[in-house]
Symmetry: C2
Subunit: 367 residues, 2 copies
Amino acid sequence: MKPQFERRLAILRNNMLDAGQDALLIFSLDNLRYLINYSGEAAYGIVTQCGAYLITDYRFLEQAQQECVNGKIDCQIICRDRDRQTLGAVINGVLKRAQAHRIVFEHEYISVSMWQAICIDNPGLVFTPAQAMLDSQRKIKDEWEIAQIRQAAAISDSALAILLPQLKLGVSEREMALELDYQMQRLGSEGISFTTILGFGERSALPHCIPSARRLQEGDLIVIDFGAVINGYRSDMTRSFVAGEADARQQAMFDTVYAAQSAALASLHAGLAAHDADAAANAILKASEFAAYAGLGLGHGLGIKLHEQPFMGPHCQDILQTNYVVTIEPGIYIPGYGGIRLEDDVQITPDGYIALSHAPKQFEVAI
Amino acid sequence: MKPQFERRLAILRNNMLDAGQDALLIFSLDNLRYLINYSGEAAYGIVTQCGAYLITDYRFLEQAQQECVNGKIDCQIICRDRDRQTLGAVINGVLKRAQAHRIVFEHEYISVSMWQAICIDNPGLVFTPAQAMLDSQRKIKDEWEIAQIRQAAAISDSALAILLPQLKLGVSEREMALELDYQMQRLGSEGISFTTILGFGERSALPHCIPSARRLQEGDLIVIDFGAVINGYRSDMTRSFVAGEADARQQAMFDTVYAAQSAALASLHAGLAAHDADAAANAILKASEFAAYAGLGLGHGLGIKLHEQPFMGPHCQDILQTNYVVTIEPGIYIPGYGGIRLEDDVQITPDGYIALSHAPKQFEVAI
């Protein structure tokens, strides 16, 4: 595992050098996982040009040693006695030893109260908010990261294949979501990527439908949006179905979303403006009879976080690069009637994309 | 549902009046659930003497209307267009209309970056950190809250009874944790209270053991720490077992923990200093041959959050009051060998306590 973490730390240190920064205080657990392989809780990091430090306490010491040291990462673990040492005092010690003066901190990931306490223990030091340097660095995935997302997506594919024959008249949204979550974990997923969205009938129009006791009826639209987790990396896929035979309106909705997703996928390649991919899908949605019900935003980056940069909407300024991993998920949502969304995870390549999720896009399911 | 929320808001407003506060900015989702029944995400609250406001966006508007209005709560929903209105500007509008000047905010639940942005939009106003007023108020549970925790605890009891016959030689920690999580949700739990802790053999000594591929062997100690969720309220129970017949040392460990927990439970009543309950358990642990391996802290409050006030350790200054709900969970942890912990959820009464969790404390399981 070591080379990829060395590479990530090297990129970060180069960026810090360019920005004239001596030290970065890391308060995001996602970034600790990304930089030094730590997957526990209650920990804080400091990166300087010469060192990487993880501050935690006895509860997570063993885990930190297993994950972040043991020949894997060049990282020093600091076990804080929480009854005797404030976090600010420990940070002060590291920064003084490192002779760091130009210090930035992850202001998006620390509370006002914790930050005030840290500042009290560091009266002589000036801290500047870090401008999401790591968010930007994390957009381009390395081969190992892509392999984890691919494996998570494959588990989602398999779990859905197990679920589909169980979608019968009278099952509830909650039962089906639980079954899907259970099957993903049986197949090796570490928990679930996010709370599974699963809606029947008119509830399929809710973009964040929380599974309820609503039972499946003939003719219901069905939206299932879910994902697995492998080594902290997430998948995120949506499939839409109709319970039994589609009527003309439902089929037209599905065909429109399918065409919109296909157009967006066909447009993808490194160098494309993200908003142009959004526009490719949107042109089809807006030209359809469902224009008034088109969803907002084409998709998002995917990795350790479910929603990462780039956010692929009409206002996105990002240019897609090779080995971005993003979701492509156009949808139509008709309040009180129902919705359809199709979502896949893709890796951007110089000439196009590689699909990471593969579940078939059949629409009608036998009930 | 309305009366309990009215009561909670009335207590909060009284406390604010006593402290000379015109408005409280709420950034904790737990507190939004507690005060106005909101269980979604991406929302912020403002409470004044005359009003309660929930600021969210179109994604959660329908949920907010169902949960927080519709005759349930006297709350006004503000749907923010995130492309056109900053959160700070919306907050400013509410505070101005309410003519609020002495304003406090939940500084533990908002990031430095979000808070800086809010302050930019409110140049004339002075905000003071709120000193965890709601944490304190939430310690005493009302009957409805206790009923939810009781139901969550009953689900945990039942799920464990289903799991126990499956604890056979060769099963893995991960398989058993997944099965337990699945059974709790089949029984009606909304997700799981926290990541189930389940450790075999030497891994049972890890206080936060993440279930692994480790398989059950004869003579292994087994620790299972888990909980269910009902209407947002959590249970938290631990049982310890041995796979097959206990040897003398294992039996002595179990008997010691059992006696320590019994002593702590017997000491409970409203008016007792929390640290005296801790001392009751600790006296037995420290007098035993396992003194060097006794865990720290007797338990914690339990409710919408898994770990709430009071934190029942030797330094706790809290006096137990009627209708506190706390865990009582002494343990012995011998690194490299194994651990035993027993944990129950109890409601404090004037004369003692009422147990909310009831799973038997059998030690040996047939394998």
